[in-house]
Symmetry: C2
Subunit: 339 residues, 2 copies
């Protein structure tokens, strides 16, 4: 953790945050966006239509930026990282589309996102197309190491998504299961996205591993922050609205901790809200009160900071350049959203 604090003191004059990263990869990202638009085309009109809907709405391009910045950090030259960053975004978009799929029970609670416009089946099949297209791009690049990194990540993501499905509405979920889910469904792609940067730069394996560890820990911190903000955040137009996880009965860390530390009456409350999904108007504020009372939010924030620090520490032996600084700043920016 000491390292992380030192690194924070080296912040750029710009004050850190997301800006150093976006500035660093601005030109590269423009090229990535061109590749994304080009490669999502198909004679089957619904494909670019639906893919365009979600890719345009998607926004931040955080994962491809990680690939671009990691490549930059490692001194990669040439163009390979642009197409591979597009792969990473395609895989991410495919998982978003598949995550949108709903079952009959959920349909009753209203539809969201691409699914609302195009339906379950179109979302699934266009996701499959983007996923296949990602592999075609990797094959064109020709690196079996990249193919291994991203096919491994894809399998882990799918496992994580199924695992999450099994923990939803199940208050028996403990912290270990929660961490396993977010490591798989979110952090594995962050990790692979960064590792790919080292692979294209043909760096020794120890650098691949360092960037993988950075991405993995950053991904865990990122998802923790997202899950905490679902209870404590403002509706800031970042996609989710406050209370979404509560309404769906997702079991996230603040819930796990509040449940563990609660008495029988409180546990009955959590089970009614999140297992039976019987929710009344003031249940969400009450849930937040219980979390605050038991220090579940504070503890979750500490956990986010811990993984953020680990991400930064993983970079210690890598070249100290503007790209590394940007990657450190973005972790900091992410965790600081909690405060």
């Amino acid at each position: 953790m000491a390292v992380a604090i030192d690194l924070k003191q080296q912040q750029t004059p710009s004050g850190g945050g997301l800006e150093p990263l976006t500035r660093l990869v601005e030109g590269d990202l423009r090229r990535v966006n061109e590749i994304i638009i080009d490669k999502m085309q198909s004679p089957v009109a619904l494909i670019p239509q639906l893919a365009g809907h979600i890719i345009a709405a998607g926004g931040k391009r955080l994962r491809p930026m990680l690939t671009l910045a990691s490549a930059r950090l490692c001194g990669a030259e040439g163009e390979r990282q642009m197409a591979l960053a597009a792969c990473v975004e395609f895989i991410h978009t495919a998982t978003l589309l598949h995550d949108d799929v709903v079952d009959a029970s959920e349909l009753r609670r209203g539809l969201q996102t691409a699914n609302a416009v195009f339906g379950n089946k179109a979302s699934v099949l266009v996701g499959d197309f983007l996923f296949s297209r990602a592999f075609q791009l990797m094959v064109a690049d020709g690196s079996l190491k990249v193919l291994k990194a991203l096919s491994d990540a894809s399998a882990i993501i799918a496992e994580g998504e199924v695992h999450q499905l099994m923990t939803a509405n199940d208050m028996a979920t403990d912290e270990a299961a929660y961490l396993e889910v977010i490591r798989a469904k979110t952090a594995a792609l962050f990790a692979a996205a960064c590792q790919v940067g080292a692979i294209v730069a043909e760096r020794p394996e120890v650098d691949e591993e360092a960037l993988y560890a950075y991405g993995l820990n950053f991904g865990i911190a990122f998802q923790l922050v997202d899950d905490i903000l679902d209870y404590t955040g403002d509706d800031d137009g970042l996609g989710k609205s406050r209370g979404d996880d509560f309404r769906e009965g997702k079991i996230t860390l603040p819930v796990v901790l509040a449940y563990e530390r609660g008495d029988e009456t409180e546990r009955a409350f959590w089970r009614r809200c999140l297992e039976d999904l019987e929710q009344r108007e003031d249940d969400l504020p009450h849930a937040l009160q219980l979390m605050e009372r038991h220090g579940a939010v504070a503890e979750s924030k500490r956990r986010a900071r811990l993984y953020g620090d680990r991400a930064c520490e993983a970079m210690a032996a890598l070249p100290d350049n503007a790209a590394r600084q940007a990657l450190l700043d973005v972790v900091d920016f992410c965790v600081e959203r909690l405060y």
Copy 2:
């Protein structure tokens, strides 16, 4: 076509059919099944549970048998084709699972298959897992040519499935659009499955192309047969029941031809049944009468035979051995199901 007829006269003493193929690859297929069972395992219990449900029920293993027989035809030695045949089956299973996904409108008409037991979302995510696992197996094999063949096929399949979604319940679908759909959603994987056999045997590209052409034309014939039997077949427990396509409003070749050749009253009938899905008890027998009256079934059968013949002709320059004979016999067996 002359070639195909000649080849038929060379049938093995067993009388042809499916048996020469199953006998030829019996031992290899046992190994493929072991790999399938081994590679669908996951610590996330729902994955082997759901995958086992569909893979055990799936049955014929036609596509992996094509890979095994093609490899045998080309004189492949070693074990690579076993794992790659498992990949082919995983990709096929993933598309089946994703094809099961239903929208709200369809839910009202009752659920089927894995979806009925596990729900939309689980089917999608386990499909994603199997698809990713297929790519992990290909990466372990290490051939970029195989990766190209199967990632290209996967993208084409997804395009075909979306295209099919767009032609469903649309009587404006013509024969060209129908053929494009089945070429993509069915034949592309047959083609790649066969091509992979030539790749592992390290045969010259012309042999890869021949096996690709065999698989592509066989796949088209296979889907034509399937679509015709949906109207003319017995409920023989092969999975689909007679009239399924009619009830769902799928636009297949017998429908396209009967509609093209029908008068205004008949066209109104087809639109009511397949576009509006307003169906009465004797609509299915009436549909079949119209098809027979206009020769739509006979014409569709001729088309199936034509593609079957093309498949056999594509093999002309390949070594004349037991594997080639088995692959010729299986085409014949498939088309003969119509008579």
